[in-house]
Each structure stands twice: as C-alpha cells, then as structure tokens.
C-alpha cells in the first residue's frame, strides 16, 4: 500500500462525497416533483456513509445505500392541481432547500478535505520518486 494507499483512501472519500452532492442536487431539482415513476410524490433522499475495512482497517469509505427520508410530506391546498387528493391537498416532497444547501456546503468541504489528503500523498510520492534520480 504505502503512499499509494493514501491516494486510494482519499479517492474513496471523494467518490462518496460526490455521491452525496449528486443526491443533494437531485433533491433540490425534485423539490416540487409531485409525480415520480411510480406515481407517488418525490421523497428526499439520504446517503448512508459506511467505513470500508481494508489492510489494517484502512480501506476508506463507501456509500452503503441511498434511502428515502420517510418524514412527513408537505401538504399544500391546491384543489385545481391534477395530483390533489379528495380534500384538495397536494403532497409536495419533504425537501427543504435550506437544509439541502447546508448539506451541500458540508459535502463540498468534506470533498476538499479529501482533495488535500490526496495532494499531500501525491507530493510525498513525487518527492520519494525524485530520490531515485541518481
């Protein structure tokens, strides 16, 4: 593993954080989607991060799943909407754009942290290689 192991670990972190950012984008894009492929309103999606075991427990991170947020949907009174129920209420997704924005900042900072680790390992590796230039 050595220094290249650090690159793999940082890359796994970058992949996982990017996956989270993708999910956040999808949540924001579907903040008003009342009809998904199976006919139900869109539900906010959450990524689940899990540690990946490797040599000596250093295998990085992985997204073990993307799950639906089962909290209450937002009901809005819109009787003329095609997806309104018998009482005239439309169930909108349980997406709060402000929450998504906060998550987006967290994901992007965590991504940057992994990039920093990646660059540190790359610089160390390059310097080690230059020792071989006799």
């Amino acid at each position: 593993m050595g220094l290249l192991g650090t690159l793999n670990i940082a890359a796994s972190g970058m992949t996982a954080e990017r996956m989270w950012m993708d999910t956040i984008s999808s949540n924001i894009a579907n903040a008003n989607t009342t009809r998904t492929a199976d006919g139900t309103p869109f539900r906010r999606q959450l990524v689940v991060f899990a540690e990946r075991a490797g040599v000596q427990g250093l295998g990085g991170v992985q997204v073990s799943g993307v799950v639906d947020d089962m909290s209450e949907l937002r009901l809005v009174y819109e009787p003329s909407h095609p997806d309104a129920n018998a009482d005239g209420y439309v169930a909108y997704p349980n997406v709060n754009v402000v929450t998504e924005m906060v998550d987006l900042i967290a994901a992007s900072r965590a991504y940057e942290a992994n990039v920093t680790a990646f660059e540190a390992a790359k610089a160390a590796y390059m310097r080690t290689l230059s020792l071989l230039q006799v």
Binding site: M1, G2, L3, G5, T6, I9, A10, S12, G13, A16, E17, W20, F49, A50, E51, Q56, G57, L58, G59, G60, V61, A106, A107, R109, A110, A113, N114, T116, A117, F118, A120, A121, A123, A124, R127, T128, L131, V134
Partner: protein, 128 residues
C-alpha cells in the same frame, strides 16, 4: 556485506518513512470518514515502536534487527468525538495532523536524500 543494509541511520529513516506513510493513510481514512456516523478516528503510534527499538544498551546489529522486525499498528481512538451525528472526526485536528505528517515526510526525505548524496560522493571520489 551490503553497505545500506547495515547503515543504522539509513534504516531508521526508511522505517520512519514507513510509519509516516501509514499515519498519512490513517489521516486520509479519518478525512474520508468525516461524514460517517459512529466512526472512531484512527492513528499510528509509530514513534513509540521506533523508540522501543532504539532504547536500551544494544549493539548495532541488534538494534538493526529489532528495527527491521518492528511492525506498526493502526489504533482506534476509544473516545468518540461527540458531534450530534456521532461522527468521530474533528476536521481541524485532522488538517493539523496531515500538515505535521507532510512536514515530517519532507524532513525524512531530505535526510534520506542527503544520506544518498553522501554515498554517491564516496563512490565517485573513491575511484578514478
């Protein structure tokens, strides 16, 4: 008898580079798991292993043998860093650890380079 194999300084530097690169991996693991709930931070206490190898009145070859057989372990911190998502990683602390490890790696690589330059000079000046 090969020269580099019996050079204590050279071997010590190489071993500490091994430990430092493992610590860098541990820091990368901590940074990768900054958003993993319930994660406990990892560290490598390689300085203790090196000190133990050097401690006590031992002969040169004996120190070398202990040094070469020394293995570094990744340890898990017991204390959970209490964040409301139970994540165990303090980003600032890891950033500091990464900076420290990088500086140390640079120092060790510089010293290794100097050592190699010394041998190179010996080889070149010794002959024709």
């Amino acid at each position: 008898m090969d020269i580099l194999g019996t050079d204590l300084t050279f071997n010590l530097l190489a071993k500490s580079l091994e430990g430092l690169s493992l610590r860098q991996q541990a820091v990368a693991q901590n940074l990768a798991n900054v958003n993993t709930p319930g994660y406990r931070r990892k560290d490598v206490l390689f300085e203790d292993v090196l000190q133990a190898a050097l401690a006590g009145p031992k002969s040169g070859p004996e120190v070398l043998r202990t040094l070469q057989s020394a293995r570094f372990e990744v340890v898990e911190e017991r204390q959970l860093y209490l964040r409301n998502d139970l994540g165990g990683v303090d980003l600032d602390r890891e950033a500091a650890e990464l900076a420290k490890t990088t500086l140390r790696i640079n120092a060790v690589l510089n010293l290794l380079g100097k050592r190699i330059a010394l041998y190179k000079q010996t080889i070149n000046e010794g002959g024709f």
